[in-house]
């Protein structure tokens, strides 16, 4: 297979303009003749659904939760980037582009990233027009803060609930289209399969989560905006229902999966405290604007943080990276926390935590100012840990948070399956091997509001599509495959719950394919996952029946896909014999223990093509060329 990214020619600044001009248009009167399925109502799916409906397309929108407003995007805390340069501190489209490519450790596609930076500003305009209550200065203008990996202040925020406010903005636009009957909403639906006809994506098969019925829906194009797969680690900051199943079903139908081993471990999460734990809670990276990260200099120091004098503290990020200090990118911050803990300097009961201290910030700015900026995060911390971060240093540790990998897409956001588009965290496109903070919200909304409305028109106008209904044989065979998988899960009647398998998978992934990896460990992981998969087939226990509201069955299906996907992730990590961004293979590091890339051999996107159950997937490579930024060893010193 030839992977063609379809990047338009010409200088990078004018590619998107040129492309929009060259894309075929669908005549306004014809738009209503096209039906588009959108799976997902996070920032990417909700914004796409609303924008496409406004243009006149018939849209069918699906989500797992009882309301589109509850998509996982709602949980994003810190902010959203844009190159507005309102602070007059030297920001520009070019700088946002550069920071993103560099932050991604030179493993993203330049043209996509440039376009993202270009549309970033209109996103803020759009959200403000919708009534998103961003934080403001006394004069009434928008406020900004800084995030990791940037030396300018370009992050817009709504207290610690930016994702919530942006999603409610997109949800309101979507609701308006539902009221206008331009969007048909299908909530509590779980996409279980992608349906193809004549080699094109033409529909989906879902399980109605209320009554368990298997339902089919057809369309002229399908958009997946189903989020990331961070829950492959079991414990993560993702919502409980976040899954890989929708993407994985597309992968099995021929969509290549790109860079699955590029996962982000976020440095500031509340540490794990017990084996009953079901998820981890993020403490927004924005805290690193004012909090200082440190560990005691002496390993095993058990004193309370406030009793450890300045001279016995190691502010290791500030010392090691004087120019970025506490605001180094996430992968760097996470790896350094792990390193400190591995040296025995970790704190807390488990020794797997470092301090994030606001003492100096409170002294400098006063408790009021800090409360204003981070109040809800401090409250959340206190509620979970029973500690008061105004009085004592917070304890944090890295956790699985975001996945840069995802379904491969070209410049039009179309996957290797014709007519299947992928938006938001579910695609691989813009963040390379590491995403900068506040850039996921930007990407999700860029994809949904400002990119797909153009590119999908080009596809629909230029493609011959036969009429199709859900009676088509391809729908019937998908339905029966889905039903048989459900029957198998329900009839296995083994001795372990799906959740128990998931937890074990998570431990394997975290230990061998987490913040640091090595070839031996990855090989061990592969055989452990294969064994676990085998055991799952024989020994899983799922309760209840198919034709009912059955959360245990829902979860078992997701775990079964995570098991298969975990294998792919490890394969990818093994194939990439270099370190870059979030993929840190201990065999490839600089003398200063930073990731050492191998640009000669690995400056490519690894796109995996499914070959059938039990057969090894085939690796296709999309070469990456850098014409607008100079490849360099990332340095944040």
């Amino acid at each position: 297979m030839q992977l063609d990214a379809n990047v338009p020619g010409g200088p990078i600044e004018s590619k998107w303009d040129k492309h929009r001009f060259e894309l075929k248009l669908v005549n306004p009167a014809n738009k209503r003749k096209f039906t588009i399925i959108v799976v997902g109502t996070g920032l990417a799916g909700a914004s796409a659904s609303a924008s496409l409906a406004e243009l006149g397309y018939q849209v069918k929108t699906f989500c797992i939760q009882d309301s589109p407003r509850r998509a996982h995007s709602i949980a994003a805390q810190g902010g959203i980037n844009a190159a507005k340069n309102y602070q007059n501190d030297g920001d520009s489209i070019r700088r946002l582009f550069y920071d993103t490519v560099k932050g991604g450790d030179f493993r993203s596609r330049e043209a996509n990233v440039y376009r993202l930076a270009q549309v970033s500003n209109t996103i803020i305009d759009q959200c403000v027009a919708q009534g998103v209550p961003f934080a403001r200065e006394y004069g009434g203008l928008l406020a900004n803060r800084s995030f990791g990996g940037a030396q300018v202040s370009r992050t817009f925020y709504a207290r610690g609930q930016t994702g919530q406010q942006l999603l409610l903005g997109a949800y309101s636009a979507l609701s308006r289209q539902v009221a206008l009957k331009k969007v048909q909403l299908y909530t509590r639906r779980d996409m279980l399969d992608l349906v193809m006809a004549d080699g094109k994506a033409r529909g989906i098969v879902v399980r109605n989560l209320i009554n368990g019925e298997i339902e089919s829906y057809s369309a002229d194009a399908v958009i997946l905006a189903t989020g990331g797969y961070g829950n492959v680690f079991y414990l993560s900051t993702n919502a409980m229902a976040s899954n890989v199943s929708a993407s994985f079903s597309a992968y099995k139908k021929g969509a290549c999966f790109a860079n699955p081993c590029f996962t982000q471990i976020h440095p500031t999460c509340i540490p794990v405290h017990g084996d009953y734990q079901s998820k981890l809670t993020l403490m927004s990276e924005s805290l690193r604007n004012d909090g200082r990260v440190w560990v005691p200099k002496k390993p095993g120091d058990k004193r309370k943080p406030e009793d450890i004098p300045e001279s016995e503290r190691d502010y290791y990020l500030e010392n090691k990276y004087p120019s970025f200090g506490n605001l180094v990118p996430r992968d760097v911050a996470s790896r350094n926390a792990k390193e400190q803990c591995d040296q025995g300097k970790g704190v807390g009961e488990t020794g797997y935590a470092v301090y994030l201290d606001f003492k100096d910030a409170i002294k400098r700015d006063g408790q009021d100012v800090i409360m204003r900026k981070y109040g809800n995060l401090f409250d959340m911390y206190q509620r979970i840990t029973d500690d008061d971060p105004y009085k004592t240093a917070m304890m944090i540790y890295p956790a699985s948070h975001y996945t840069m990998g995802g379904l491969w897409v070209d410049y039009n956001l179309m996957s290797t399956i014709e007519g299947l588009f992928v938006l938001g965290e579910a695609n691989f496109s813009d963040h390379g091997a590491n995403r900068l903070g506040a850039s996921a919200l930007m990407q999700g909304l860029a994809d949904g509001y400002f990119i797909i409305p153009y590119t999908i028109g080009g596809y629909l106008a230029g493609t011959k599509l036969n009429a199709i209904s859900t009676d088509h044989a391809d729908f019937k065979s998908s339905e029966s495959a889905v039903k048989s998988k459900i029957r198998t899960l329900l009839s296995t009647n083994g001795k372990r719950t799906a959740n128990d398998f998931h937890r074990e998978l998570g431990t394997i992934m975290w230990d061998y394919c987490g913040m640091a990896r090595n070839n031996d460990g990855l090989k061990i992981a592969l055989s452990k996952i294969q064994n676990l998969k085998g055991e799952f087939v024989e020994n899983v226990k799922v309760s209840g029946i198919d034709k009912e509201f059955n959360q245990n069955l829902e979860n078992a299906g997701r775990v079964s896909d995570f098991l298969s996907f975990g294998e792919l992730m490890v394969e990818d990590a093994l194939a990439r014999q270099e370190s870059c961004g979030g993929h840190f293979n201990e065999g490839f590091q600089t003398e200063e223990n930073e990731a050492r890339r191998d640009d000669e051999n690995f400056s490519h996107v690894a796109a995996w093509a499914y070959q059938g159950e039990g057969k090894p997937p085939v690796l296709h490579k999309e070469p990456l060329s850098f014409e607008n930024v100079k490849l360099s060893q990332r340095s944040y010193k």
């Binding site: 407003r69 919502a239 009953y276």
Partner: protein, 260 residues
């Protein structure tokens, strides 16, 4: 984990849980033991433990809605010992921790009940009536594209803050479940207020408030009679000042429509 005085403990509880197979089936309270529960667990993690055991014993695990488990998606919620989202103020069920319970406690867990929220199963209810209310006008009518620069309209910080206070509503339905009239007034007023406070939302303010209140009635929510239970139980501490603002907007809108 904690370095404070609340060290982790293990407790045993008796749960009395509302079980109901479906909207048209009869429901009843069933009793379960929750044993060896760490006080650092969240309430939902405690139910997870009970459910894992039920699955292995071949029973039917307790259905309950949840997703983010960090107090922001609004998916979780149940009435615990008579209080929506349990005993802690300003806290969703998922953020309620077991350190607020004592060894030997009996905990009664019931769904959010209301005429407008049909029961799905056990503790799961259908809150799509909230979506219908938003569809009736909970937005600013702008299409994607063609909007002015974000800094074109300065908004006083104070106004922006008040709008944000109202915008924090997570749509969980606790206000409805705790209201003796099953009114959705707090929920509706939060959205009406957010948009009425901002210049972007002013243009449609009169029609918005009328349409949203009308839809609230259509969806079978009751009237507000100032009981203030909603405010007390709201996990996001949405203030009933918003209801007063809604009422003012409603009167203003009525006057406007009379002028025509």
């Amino acid at each position: 984990m904690s370095t404070g005085d609340g060290m982790e403990k293990k407790i045993n509880l008796t749960l009395k849980v509302w079980r109901q197979k479906g909207p048209d089936k009869k429901g009843k309270i069933e009793t379960y033991r929750a044993e060896d529960i760490s006080t650092d667990m969240s309430f939902l993690e405690m139910i997870d433990v009970v459910n894992e055991k039920l699955v292995l014993e071949g029973g039917d695990p307790i259905s309950f809605d949840h997703d983010c488990r960090e107090g922001i998606c609004g998916m979780c919620g149940a009435v615990v010992n008579g209080r929506a989202h349990g005993p802690s103020k300003g806290t969703t069920l998922c953020q309620l921790h077991m350190r607020h319970f004592s060894d030997g406690d009996t905990v009664v867990i019931e769904p959010f009940r209301s005429r407008a929220f049909k029961l799905v199963k056990d503790l799961v209810v259908d809150r799509s009536a909230f979506d219908k209310i938003i569809q009736a006008g909970g937005y600013v009518s702008v299409n994607t594209g063609g909007v002015p620069d974000a800094n074109a309209i300065p908004i006083p910080q104070e106004k922006a803050d008040l709008a944000m206070d109202a915008a924090q509503c997570i749509g969980c339905g606790a206000c409805v479940a705790s209201c003796p009239n099953a009114s959705a007034m707090l929920f509706v007023s939060a959205k009406v207020s957010q948009l009425a406070l901002l210049p972007q939302g002013r243009a449609e303010a009169p029609t918005r408030v009328i349409n949203m209140v009308k839809e609230m009635d259509n969806q079978l929510f009751g009237n507000c009679s100032n009981e203030r239970e909603c405010e007390a139980e709201c996990p996001k501490s949405i203030s009933i000042v918003n209801i007063a603002r809604l009422n003012r907007e409603f009167i203003k809108a009525g006057l406007l429509s009379n002028e025509k």
